[in-house]
């Protein structure tokens, strides 16, 4: 038996070569991302139906709680002047959590593709740089690389570039490790059950050995960590780092 861990499927490739960017392709990552976006948007619409000023429903209370939590998170980490960042951070968190958790229904997480995290990290990196330039000017921003001594410049540039790369790779690595472990667990459990049930003699054993009966139960327990905990944790860490880096950048 062989366990294959491969990247997302490519559903369709537009056969036009665009220089530098290659052929536009619709991959599993994109399709599942759209599904995630659809789910989030429908959820938002569902939560904000029939809003009332008083005598509110549980649904509305939940929606208000979500908004207030996002407000508290962003304003608590970044301060009042960054309140325009609230929808961005909320979108980042919601997309990340849902992308991580959608593997529970058998789809491939968009976050198990480095392109997704790289895209987010680049956006955050541009925001960080923009804040730095805004707070200390372009000259000040460049001069910041030569601090405390000019010899440090290459290391400073490296550490600056390491920020988005580490953010992207941390998230990607955690989710991908879940995918890999899941594949390994399912593969090994299938092997184990076929070995166990193959002990039954005759045609019954030959048939039952193809049923991975041991794969019931244990993966669900592991999924509590690899999907639920890791998924929520990584989304939270990514948003936390985003707010922290941007707030720090604004302080100069």
């Amino acid at each position: 038996m062989e366990v294959n861990i491969v990247g997302p499927k490519i559903y369709y490739e537009i056969p036009i070569d665009i220089p530098l960017l290659g052929r536009p392709q619709i991959s599993e990552t994109l399709v599942v991302s759209w599904i995630v976006m659809l789910i989030i948007t429908l959820l938002c619409i569902f939560l904000t139906r029939n809003l009332k000023v008083s005598n509110i429903t549980k649904r509305q209370a939940f929606a208000e709680m979500l908004v207030e939590t996002a407000d508290k998170f962003v304003i608590g980490n970044m301060g009042e002047k960054f309140s325009y960042m609230i929808p961005f951070v909320a979108a980042l968190f919601a997309t990340s959590v849902l992308s991580n958790l959608i593997s529970l229904i058998g789809l491939r997480s968009p976050t198990a593709d480095i392109n997704t995290e790289a895209a987010w990290a680049i956006v955050v990196f541009i925001m960080i740089t923009a804040q730095k330039i805004k707070s200390s000017g372009f000259g000040g921003y460049l001069k910041g690389f030569t601090q405390p001594i000019p010899v440090m410049t290459p290391f400073n540039v490296l550490s600056e570039l390491a920020t988005p790369i580490s953010m992207a790779c941390r998230h990607f690595g955690n989710i991908l490790s879940g995918v890999v472990i899941n594949a390994l667990i399912y593969g090994s459990l299938a092997l184990a059950s076929s070995a166990l049930l193959g002990l039954i003699p005759g045609a019954v054993g030959a048939f039952l050995s193809h049923v991975p009966i041991l794969a019931v139960g244990l993966p669900a327990v592991l999924s509590v960590y690899f999907d639920w905990f890791s998924g929520c944790m990584q989304a939270f860490i990514f948003c936390m780092l985003t707010t922290m880096y941007i707030a720090n950048a604004a302080e100069g």
Partner: protein, 167 residues
């Protein structure tokens, strides 16, 4: 269709994911944040209005209370005034009555004394007359002749007068 590599950067996917993130941001803003913020603002406005109303009502109530207290104070003052004046009047009246009564008593006493004096004089006169006639009768019997009462009245009176003075 094949699979892409496990770890690779596909520029189109990368760009699409950036766009997806911003589209998602706009969608969340439009469908979650804006309606909820609107309703929160409405609720805040309603709460503010209610607090304003309550404050105004309280102020009104306090004004009314102050008015009431002033009114009650006025009423108390007036009642005290009325009571004082009534007491004063009653005292004056009682003094008047007592004075009248004592005046009347004095007058009555004076009248009674005058009456008594009159009666006394009357009685004295009657007794004088009686004694005069008795004396005349006795004298008539003594001298056996009729004495003209009119002739000797003056004499008898003089006599009685003298007797009275000596007695």
């Amino acid at each position: 269709m094949g699979n892409q590599d496990l770890v690779t950067i596909i520029p189109w996917t990368f760009i699409a994911q950036i766009c997806n993130l911003f589209i998602q941001m706009l969608l969340i803003k439009k469908f979650l944040f804006n309606p909820i913020r609107e309703i929160l603002a409405k609720r805040k406005a309603a709460a503010d209005a209610e607090i304003m109303d309550a404050t105004r009502a309280k102020e009104e109530a306090e004004a009314i209370k102050a008015e009431y207290e002033a009114n009650i104070q006025n009423a108390h003052d007036k009642a005290n005034e009325i009571l004082t004046s009534a007491q004063k009047m009653a005292q004056q009246q009682s003094e008047q009555i007592i004075k009248d009564a004592s005046d009347e008593a004095v007058a009555l006493k004076a009248k009674a004394e005058a009456d008594i004096a009159l009666e006394k004089r009357k009685a004295v006169n009657e007794i004088k007359d009686e004694i005069g006639s008795i004396a005349m009768e006795i004298a008539g019997k003594v001298i056996e002749r009729e004495i003209c009462e009119e002739d000797h009245t003056k004499l008898i009176d003089e006599f009685i007068e003298n007797v009275g003075e000596q007695a």
